[in-house]
């Protein structure tokens, strides 16, 4: 069963840019890549989704290289409230029905 791989944790400081890379070697042709944010004792919240190249919204950017085997979530000018766990979500072509698989999550700590 293919898995996504993310760094376990990252530390940053307020005002810096945070980049989190997710590896997904077995991504299927029709799959999209989705990132979620989760605060303690809350359900995950959708941040951004993309298929290829670059996607930007009001909170983040998502960079996807041509081979689509990885993606990078970029959080510009983070604040203390961006401290959370960030999950990369892609479809899994090796599982029946293209089951969605959460990556292990990256715990981001933003320091003052």
């Amino acid at each position: 069963l293919a898995k996504t791989t993310q760094p376990i944790s990252m530390d940053s400081y307020e005002g810096q840019e945070v980049n989190i890379t997710c590896s997904h070697n077995n991504i299927a042709t029709n799959d999209y890549i989705t990132w979620y944010q989760q605060f303690p004792s809350q359900g995950p919240r959708f941040i951004i989704q993309g298929y290829k190249t670059k996607v930007t919204n009001e909170v983040a950017s998502l960079f996807i290289p041509a081979d689509r085997k990885s993606s990078t979530l970029s959080l510009p000018r983070v604040s203390l409230s961006d401290t959370a766990v960030y999950y990369c979500l892609v479809g899994d072509r090796e599982a029946a029905g293209n089951k969605l698989t959460f990556g292990g999550g990256t715990r981001v700590l933003v320091k003052p």
């Binding site: 299927a28 029709n30 799959d31 999209y32 890549i33 989705t34 979620y36 004792s41 809350q42 359900g43 995950p44 919240r45 959708f46 989704q49 999950y87 979500l89 892609v90 479809g91 029905g97 293209n98 089951k99 969605l100 959460f102 990556g103 292990g104 999550g105």
Partner: protein
């Protein structure tokens, strides 16, 4: 506001005593999911309903069952909770348009404690 609602937010049960967790949605989405999330781990999909069609994950224990009486409601039944079933249980929905990695909308979760 349209949303996914889970009740209760905290549930305490006794070892072996059946417990039911509830989820409702006002999004009118076709798909409803149940995830189990243990401390410091990623959410793990237990099963999902596409409309009335039930889809169980291969490694979901038989102790876990689900019911979806209508579009808005979905229940997670744990027949005989063990200490290892203590976790956060997350309900999510998606539109069900057929694409993978469809955006999922999560409820706040129910934290289950087994004594």
């Amino acid at each position: 506001d349209a949303m996914v609602i889970q009740n209760p937010r905290y549930q305490v049960t006794q070892f072996g005593k059946p417990v039911t967790l509830s989820c409702s949605q006002t999004l009118n989405h076709n798909v409803m999911y149940w995830y189990q999330q243990k401390s410091s781990q990623a959410p793990k999909l237990l099963f999902h309903y596409y409309d009335k069609d039930f889809n169980n994950e291969a490694d979901t224990p038989d102790n876990f069952q689900s019911r979806r009486p209508n579009t808005s409601f979905c229940f997670l039944d744990i027949r005989s909770p063990g200490l290892g079933d203590a976790a956060m249980y997350l309900c999510a929905t998606s539109r069900g348009s057929g694409g993978t990695a469809e955006t999922q909308y999560f409820g706040p979760g129910t934290r289950l404690l087994v004594l």
